[in-house]
């Protein structure tokens, strides 16, 4: 099983063990941006379409 911690988009938080941010580049029809969503490092990422192994 892949976990979020193994993904290139995962950035561990220094102040909260086990917790991190999933940071991804998005380009929509009007603008480009980076988005961030909180995730746990041991989240199951096997169903994630954006998963990219580190």
């Amino acid at each position: 099983m892949s976990t979020c911690a193994e993904c290139r988009s995962f950035f561990l938080r220094e102040d909260e063990p086990g917790q991190g941010d999933c940071v991804r580049r998005v380009v929509d029809p009007r603008q480009a941006f980076y988005q961030s969503k909180p995730v746990r490092e041991d989240n199951d990422a096997s169903g994630c379409e954006s998963f990219q192994k580190k």
């Binding site: 941010d21 940071v23 998005v26 929509d28 603008q31 980076y34 969503k37």
Partner: protein, 832 residues
């Protein structure tokens, strides 16, 4: 899509052609150009959302999950925990080139959904085509689940259950007014004096709350007595405030972390890396602590607005950015020179764009009434300091210049004019108007300060802090003056007053008895009988709306609760009361009077043609009205062309205006808000004149059911002001703009050709002097030619950036319905 300007044309050529939207594109920085074009426009086009706009399900789901989990908590605490959960877990983003961050939805193209506001709105969300995120079926199922949960327990559902049933039916009929009797929708002022003048960050406020808690807790373990019993509720409220303020600090630090992650791992451009690190530093500083520079100050303000909007659907944006951020501009640009004027202009322009992109889901009636925008973000500029000296500063000028570069239709500005305003500032106002923005609206500051003191008893120094609470109404930004809830929810469709006076209170459009039975108008012997019937209908209609809103406010701390907004209020931080509680609030209510002038022109027409000239009988008139003038065209034209009309300096009709206003002002003093203060009227329309077109029946001014109503406030009917701008000003100047009501909107169209060049500015300046001398409180201008507007109707893509003043707000011309477009073109172009 935005069409590109002709590359081969110079700025001068474009200016000569008055194609100001292309001028803006050529003049603004690459950053502003990117950010301006990157916005997903949330304002509905006519009444429909633009393709690509999606309902924000993430925030609604996060909120509901936590709301369900903490079901045994008091409402303030429960809401605080739900909001904190949203702020801690929603998706956040940073747009390329941006320097300011924060959006209340989870993605740039999403509209926030106030899921706990009203079941009626939730059902509309489910049924609204095109706004469900993909996969649509899953989204629909999610919305249905959320709706099932909230059905019957939203804020408005709770109020509706305890309303008088007859009041509820009539209020909700949509015929006599609009609004929601809850702080779940509406708008709140911010206690800027506490936050910005007091130089407080959230940590400072938390410290003050902790001190208040400690003091209160000492009492709960002291001598038993009735005076300590409500402390237990206050302790819960204080805890809720702390909880949501801390969540706000954490939320900002999520942005700081994202910006640092981007700078350290993704960004290759050194200049952008520095900007991202500056964003990180800014979001680590604010809102936790007071700002130190312009970027932090603007970012702090924006966070406050985003958090307030995470808590409730805010339909307005009361603010005075030049006054509260001006000292930081001065420090950065003039003293420390850490920012150039151009860099500051970029920040100011982006600050406007960040507000422009904000939008929540609104029901169809609200979208039709506010075509093209998502709320009335009228920011206040200019005015005076608390000591009465001129408050305009370099940031006032920067905002007016930035507005011409970014050309957003929201926010707009209301400029507090006073005799000490410097010529250089007034010129900047004029340039915005000349560039066709439709703003700033001009507000008569000395008069409105007096008005605020007259109606609500605000002390002079506090009255001088006033901001536009929504489109028009002045409201202080002080501890006891700030208005925490939209107490203008008593928004009245006033044309119904004369309609009901003519039909014995019966509404032929909705098919039910609405108003009191004031007698068969066919049997009225003179104008006085009709006028007295009108007075009774006016009293009934305004009283019903006010009763409903009063009840909504009284029950709001129990039914909704605003922990974040309470944490922004000195009154609440000190007392532990929900900020919506009227205790310690002076009240700043007003009844927004839509479709007001129809009453005046209709009453004048009946007086003239029926009772004075005896050209027609009341029976004939009533038959014509019941037939919607069908088969009575010659008679209708007589009522249009040969009856006196408001706005022509004609005492015959102007005296009727004064009688109507003074009767209403008398009743305004009888009706009281929960703070014990009065409910003056404020005639204006937004685009309610189009929304109500098919709801108001035929009227004696010659209008048929379905025709657009007048564009509102005290503006004369389109094309009916035939005696020039001075006559309009003289009619409006007969009104006492202090004691006859809260404020009076006046739309005027001016010729861009006549007002070109220096001569144009001098003409306009003289007009403003006359306007002020005659004692009017408001005027706003459209200065786009018929030729341009008609060309925009034919080729909307080419003219997608043309802006017009609709009513108390501006909109892109192509975003409003054809009927509203035509209504604007029909307005008389005044030569001055």
């Amino acid at each position: 899509m935005v069409a590109e300007p002709a590359q081969d044309q110079s700025v001068q050529e474009l200016e000569d052609k008055q194609e100001w939207w292309w001028v803006a594109e050529k003049k603004r920085s690459k950053r502003l150009d990117y950010l301006r074009k990157s916005v997903w426009k949330k304002g509905a086009l006519g009444g429909n959302y633009a393709p690509g706009i999606k309902l924000d399900l993430e925030c609604a789901t996060l909120f509901t999950d936590m709301w369900k989990f903490w079901k045994y908590d008091p409402i303030m605490m429960r809401r605080a925990k739900a909001i904190a959960h949203v702020l801690d877990n929603k998706t956040i983003f940073i747009t390329d080139h941006s320097q300011l961050v924060g959006y209340f939805g989870s993605l740039p193209n999403t509209i926030m959904w106030r899921v706990d506001g009203a079941s009626m709105v939730n059902e509309e969300a489910y049924n609204e085509p095109g706004i469900m995120p993909e996969p649509e079926n899953e989204s629909l199922q999610k919305v249905a689940e959320l709706n099932d949960y909230w059905a019957g327990q939203t804020a408005v559902d709770k109020v509706a259950r305890i309303l008088d049933p007859e009041d509820a039916v009539k209020f909700l009929s949509g015929a006599i007014g609009w609004g929601a009797p809850s702080s779940a929708y509406g708008y709140s002022g911010k206690d800027y004096e506490y936050l910005f003048a007091g130089r407080r960050g959230f940590e400072d406020i938390i410290e003050e709350i902790n001190a208040a808690v400690e003091n209160a807790e000492d009492k709960t373990v002291g001598v038993p007595g009735p005076e300590i019993l409500d402390i237990y509720d206050r302790l819960q409220n204080w805890d809720a405030m702390i909880l949501v303020l801390e969540a706000g600090i954490r939320h900002a630090r999520r942005y700081a972390r994202l910006a640092r992650t981007m700078a350290e791992n993704m960004e290759t451009d050194e200049k952008r890396r520095e900007e991202l690190l500056k964003i990180a530093e800014t979001c680590e500083r604010v809102p936790a602590r007071a700002p130190r520079n312009l970027q932090e100050s603007l970012q702090y303000d924006h966070f406050i607005q985003i958090f307030a909007r995470t808590e409730a659907h805010e339909g307005a944006w009361p603010a005075r950015p030049d006054y509260y951020h001006g000292p930081y501009y001065d420090k950065d640009v003039n003293v420390d020179k850490t920012l150039t004027k151009e860099e500051a202009l970029d920040l100011v322009g982006e600050f406007m764009i960040r507000a422009y992109e904000v939008g929540g889901f609104a029901p169809r009636w609200a979208r039709e009434g506010l075509q093209g925008i998502t709320g009335t973000w009228v920011w206040t500029l200019g005015g005076v300091n608390k000591d009465g000296s001129d408050a305009c500063n370099d940031l006032t000028v920067a905002f007016l210049q930035a507005a011409r570069l970014v050309r957003v239709s929201n926010p707009t500005f209301g400029f507090r004019w006073h005799p000490k305003v410097k010529d250089e500032v007034l010129r900047e106002c004029f340039e915005c108007i000349r560039h066709g923005l439709g703003y700033p609206s001009m507000r008569n500051d000395p008069l409105l300060i007096q008005n605020a003191m007259h109606w609500h008893g605000h002390p002079l120094e506090e009255a001088r802090t006033w901001v536009h609470q929504a489109c028009m109404s002045p409201c202080p930004t002080t501890k006891h003056g700030v208005q925490p809830m939209r107490m203008a929810s008593a928004t009245a469709n006033c044309a119904k007053m004369v309609e009901y006076a003519l039909h014995n209170g019966y509404d032929h459009v909705v098919g039910m008895q609405m108003g009191p039975e004031t007698g068969d108008a066919a049997k009225f012997h003179d104008f006085e009988e009709l006028f007295q019937a009108w007075v009774k209908q006016m009293e009934w209609l305004t009283s019903l709306l006010v009763r409903t809103v009063n009840l909504g406010r009284y029950k709001d701390p129990e039914f909704f609760g605003r922990p974040f907004l309470s944490g922004m209020s000195e009154r609440s931080v000190e007392s532990g009361l929900d900020v919506v509680s009227p205790v310690g609030d002076r009240g700043n209510c007003w009844v927004t009077a839509f479709t007001w002038v129809e009453n005046i022109d209709s009453l004048a027409a009946v007086k003239k043609l029926v009772f004075d000239d005896k050209k027609y009988t009341m029976e004939q008139l009533l038959s014509a009205l019941k037939a919607n003038w069908d088969g009575y065209e010659e008679m209708r034209l007589d009522f249009v062309n040969n009856a006196p009309k408001w706005g022509n300096d004609d005492d015959y009709v102007d005296d009727i205006m004064l009688r109507c206003l003074r009767e209403t002002a008398r009743h305004s003093r009888v009706m009281k808000c929960p703070s014990g203060n009065s409910w003056p009227i404020l005639p204006e329309n937004v685009s309610g004149n189009i929304h109500y077109a098919s709801i108001v029946g035929a009227l004696p001014n010659g209008r048929r059911c379905g025709d657009a109503l007048y564009d509102g406030g005290i503006s004369p009917g389109p094309g009916l002001d035939k005696k020039g701008p001075s006559a309009v000003l003289k009619s409006c100047g007969k009104i006492d703009h202090v004691s006859d009501g809260r404020a009076f909107l006046l739309n005027q169209r001016l010729s861009p050709t006549q007002l070109a060049g220096e001569k144009g500015y001098q003409l306009w300046k003289a007009y403003i002097r006359t306007w002020a001398d005659l004692g009017l409180d408001h005027v706003q201008f459209n200065m786009v030619s018929d030729e341009t507007l008609r060309a925009a109707q034919k080729d909307p893509e080419k003219y997608s950036e043309v802006i017009v003043r609709v009513a108390g707000y501006s909109a892109h011309f192509v975003d409003i319905s054809r009927k509203t477009q035509d209504n604007i073109i029909q307005r008389t172009v005044q030569g001055i």
